[in-house]
Amino acid sequence: MSDLPLLSVRCLDVRFGALAAVDGVSFELWPGEVVAIVGESGSGKTTLLRAIHGFIPPTAGSILYRSDRFGEIELTRLDEPRRRLLARTEWGFVHQNPRDGLRLSYSAGANVGERLMAAGARHWGNIRAQALAWLDRVEIDVARIDDLPRTFSGGMQQRLQIARVLVTNPRLVLMDEPTGGLDVSVQARLLDMLRRLVADLGLSVIVVTHDLGVARLLAQRILVMQRGRVVEAGLTDQVLDDPQHPYSQLLVSSVLAA
């Protein structure tokens, strides 16, 4: 199985009128691999991620996904019921702002349990036990299971969102700036946790970030995007330590050393 890519993106275009937000992007994601998409604001990285997840219909191109259950699927032609089924079972999407990914008027336990219930779990005790186990796994005090997420700090909300996504054991997780808006010590803790979870669960991840440090810590491979195009791609250390494209060189040299 692992000799075939999990996801193959071919010549993907997303256009908003005359603007090519994503312009002819191709890449592959292998099982158990973490790929970072880096680039400045407006380079099309979030649009690319949203197009892969199906939030935005691509203008042209193909996205091939190898599902456990359904075999090879062309996502750009997938019907909505099937796409939503995949989205809540085999995929997960971690939003930059945890408030977009959480139900703020429901407790932490209900947030973690939602995907289980959507997948058909109807035993309250089991759902609660799994919610407790996942809160523990993302380092949230289990005593707060019945508290509302709006009483949580930013870092806790982000960890709760991650628990909510991972509870159904997805294969592919898409993350949009998972550490955006968090202070550095909280970021470090979150990254630590993500690294551990990705390794434990064997997840395949596409992470969009403008922070090269995040890319360095999490990803094995990097795609550098500029104006909707992938200008450089390669192993993380290779791209960050020996950037070839002028834009990658600019990006790497712009990082402030503390």
């Binding site: 909505e80 019921p81 939503r84 809540r88 139900r103 429901y106 407790s107 336990g109 209900a110 349990g113 939602e114 995907r115 219930m117 959507a118 997948a119 109807r122 035993h123 309250w124 005790g125 759902i127 609660r128 299971i145 019945d146």
Partner: protein
Amino acid sequence: MNTTSYTFAYLDEQTKREIRRALLKALAIPGHQVPFASREMPLARGWGTGGMQVTAAVIGRNDVLKVIDQGADDTTNAVSIRQFFSRVAGVRTTTRTEEATLIQTRHRIPETPLRPGQIMVYQVPQPEPLWRLEPSRAETRRLHALAEYGIMHVKLYEDIAQHGRITLAYDYPVLVHGRYVMAPSPIPAFDNPKLHRSPAIHLFGAGREKRIYAVPPYTDVISLAFEDHPFRPWKAEAACALCGSTESYLDEILIDDRGTRRYICSDTDWCERRRTRGKTA
């Protein structure tokens, strides 16, 4: 008032036809909300205009009409709607459940078991069971279309987490015919089991929200719950202060400033008939 100045049953024939068409569609897809062109009625929206339009569309000259409001035949809403139809349709009215062929109701199902051929018409304030959970109507329609009802169980999960049990006492969501989740209108959860495989036809009209839905006879209507927290219809642990009934749904009435309370049957017809048979508290 001159009865000939109105069409039979108030609404014009084209409007009744349109409502009947919506009703047939609703019966064909149990629990599915069908939009309809809700008309102005001679009373304010929220007072049962949806139920009245459905009644006007299905009533015939030989029908015997009963109207109840919270189980009672003698409250304002029930009396005025009953008078309205005896005026504009000239039909016979009754308070007896088994004599009626058509029963318009607000928030109760009669205690007397319904029989085949009877039609129940419900006044519905909010037809969308997902409305507090999902703000977008476009999205709730999509959730219904795809039968994605996990969100409904999130609400029930939360109830148990916060209160130790499901605290919904009325408008308790049901799964109809194994397919659509439906709001049974604000009837007490106590009445939900009466919908399950009922021999009568149940029609729901929401006038303000412009939706009609239905449960045909002998259809499965299952109240949602968890395996380890099953559905439990709730009623007051008391006997009726008038007829002594312990199996009917009871209204709680405060009778003085010190909080003393009495319980009496919410179904006035049921209570009266028990008393005429010599039952007392």
